[in-house]
Symmetry: C3
Subunit: 345 residues, 3 copies
Amino acid sequence: MKVTLEAVARAIDGTVVGDGSVEITGVAGIREAREGELTFLANPRYEPYLELTQASAVIVSENHRNIGKPLIENPNPYLAFLKAVRLFAGEKERPRPGVHASAVVAPGVSVPPDAYVGPHAVLEPGARLGSRAVVHAGCYIGGNAVLGDEVLLYPRVTVREECVLGDRVIVHSGTVIGSDGFGFVRDGDVYRKLPQVGNVEIGDDVEIGANVTIDRATTGTTRVGAGSKIDNLVQIAHNVQIGRNCIIVAQVGISGSTVLGDHVVLAGQVGIVGHIEIGDGASVGAQSGVSKSVKPGERMFGHPARPLREAKRIEASIRNLPELIQTVRALKRRVEELEGLQEPR
Amino acid sequence: MKVTLEAVARAIDGTVVGDGSVEITGVAGIREAREGELTFLANPRYEPYLELTQASAVIVSENHRNIGKPLIENPNPYLAFLKAVRLFAGEKERPRPGVHASAVVAPGVSVPPDAYVGPHAVLEPGARLGSRAVVHAGCYIGGNAVLGDEVLLYPRVTVREECVLGDRVIVHSGTVIGSDGFGFVRDGDVYRKLPQVGNVEIGDDVEIGANVTIDRATTGTTRVGAGSKIDNLVQIAHNVQIGRNCIIVAQVGISGSTVLGDHVVLAGQVGIVGHIEIGDGASVGAQSGVSKSVKPGERMFGHPARPLREAKRIEASIRNLPELIQTVRALKRRVEELEGLQEPR
Amino acid sequence: MKVTLEAVARAIDGTVVGDGSVEITGVAGIREAREGELTFLANPRYEPYLELTQASAVIVSENHRNIGKPLIENPNPYLAFLKAVRLFAGEKERPRPGVHASAVVAPGVSVPPDAYVGPHAVLEPGARLGSRAVVHAGCYIGGNAVLGDEVLLYPRVTVREECVLGDRVIVHSGTVIGSDGFGFVRDGDVYRKLPQVGNVEIGDDVEIGANVTIDRATTGTTRVGAGSKIDNLVQIAHNVQIGRNCIIVAQVGISGSTVLGDHVVLAGQVGIVGHIEIGDGASVGAQSGVSKSVKPGERMFGHPARPLREAKRIEASIRNLPELIQTVRALKRRVEELEGLQEPR
């Protein structure tokens, strides 16, 4: 599909600034976009990418400075971009409401008429589905689990008994919510299981990636706050409390009972020990290991994680270590020489 | 639910020492417990937490010293605690025995009358189930696989053909037992698959978390010893041999043919190379990378993993590295000065 | 099963050099083989293992030097070994073609007569299966997804809509292909989802382990090149491009839009940031963190990853750091002494 920028602007209620005859072949994020594609700028933090993006045109809010590329102006660039996505990719089809004949819905469970339950899905006794919920093929919803309105579960998600998902929660395939926490007590030579009788609660507008594991609390509740986004293969242990609007990138592991504030960002493969607190707005760089509580707003990095500035200074020191060793060796020789000069006395 | 400590003590066959009128609202582990909750102390290694726990009361063995909190005495605190868990959380319902109509059980497979096979579970030809086994919805049991007595598989577990699970093994959702080992041989420019014709054997009383992967052996058997406990998202490669009563925390990876002794503890996100041995009772700190065999009882830490004391000394040195560089620079200047003083001669 | 080497040689069209009466009990790779087993040498890079292998006999190409063990000569040792595997392990049974009655195949989807679709598998509208494809129990094939000839999906694999798998692709249980990329834009205090409208394409002869996650592109295609092999629990983010014949070991994470050349090797638990390039033939050591592009053929190691030689020199420096600190302290004392000697002047 190829359309002129002018035509795109009309379709998304925007105004072209610059050459409207440019041909647009698709849409993409500002970092991923290639020539021929249209992108957008909604967050001032991404301004620097305006100079770097390979996109052929950018949707911006009104009265934007000239960047040497055609623009589409619209007061809400993100919503305008969503319209452009639909223009090029088409609306993703929502499955038609209804319960597939092969789904197993326990007696007494009522599925709202506008919800969808796919082939081979299982709803155990007491499970509850919100309005317009979508439960794709092969999902398992345990006893008394609650899914909010417009929840979207991709194929083969497991939600164990008593767990609660808020409105508009999205969960990708293979993810397990409510598995038993890893709780054992040593009894002589063997380990005895500590029953895990709590649950998991996921706030509104949370998105959870594929093959994630979120353990139920030993007692009480493991919690993910509203608006937080969790990438693939993340591990969240029992009794962890995650605040609102956090970003947890792929393969992060958070140990038991640790508390994250709001707006925390954990980059990929970070590990966090149990029983600590990560303050509001703190961020942790990729692969770091956090073993102590982190203050609000602090940026941490490394093994063990340290404040970013300190981590960078240490990292630079390490890089220069072989040179330092040479310097010390040379110094030693020079001191020996100086000592030799004194010897005669 | 709120009951007096006195009432709890009666229900679990214990004796109150101290104020029996305290109101108890729930139960929890000694580190997780909050005010109002009851916990227990079974293992002397957890004694230090007695001073720190926020629990309102503690189940202890008899004749325990005063800790300034009401106690319940019982000769077996763990079993007494389990009773308390049931008092507050209720017994987890065991599914009623039987095979769900939507399960696909191959001809010739006989399910014991006291076992449960859930909706959409699949039992391939030759699969065998022990007495009181529970196979939840969507599990797949491959050809000739064997599940012991009282095995408990949560929804959507895969056990591939020929694998063997001992008695009372618990496996959480999404876990795959018996996937092909990662075995290829290079043939010019391409890799050719090495058929993986071995299996996996899991000992009695093992518990395996969610979305774990345990590969079948190239030939022979990948083995997890009795009583070992494996957390979520762990990777165990082909031909690995894990001893008894090991603790493997989330996101650990163990490479091919490595051998773990008994009572080994691997903290979260540890990586272990292939073809080495980790001795009995050894432990490895979180995120460490182990590239050489580890002696029994040794405590290892770091990248690469070193004995804990050495790792700590090196870690301290690194922390002081920026200061060391300053010291060396200052020394250099002083030596230059001293050399200058000698120059005239 | 026990047979003489002579009998094995006859069965696999080889010639014994040395004692043909040795009894062979099984087959294994050159590193895993134990006494009584037969192994093979196809790749000269594995020559060093010839001295170390515990195998009782080795299949080699013709005119091989004496290694003090009986040999079977055959011009293609790998193919001869595959025959030996079948001799000992039997041919793995291919399921009989057909669609299981419990599978849900959307109207209009045609399954080739020589393909297999297992119990509770789901094929959504527009899905296409190649000749002799095997889709095991509980797999989900999304709308318009395409599976090539002889594709083999183990139980409970998810292939989301529009994704394409080449010929002879093997995917192990629990893996998710085509989950949404982790794409959000910040809008004030909250994150808004960036629709992920691209797909995933997997080249011919790729093998993908268990519980792997491969995200669909934001727009365009996430790609895994022909012949590449991916181990368990690997994360491949949106818009990643992986070349041909790469080896990606367990628990590796590759961030968005990163490009790997051909023949790249990433060892276990490696993390790679987004938007960089890893050149042809480059390799990265276990647990390393790669934050910058890597030149073709370069061998990288560490946190942050550096060229191997440099990483080793730094690692050695760190090991000697406590000693260096002693040296500097002693030097300081000696300089002070020298300065004292000068004082009188």
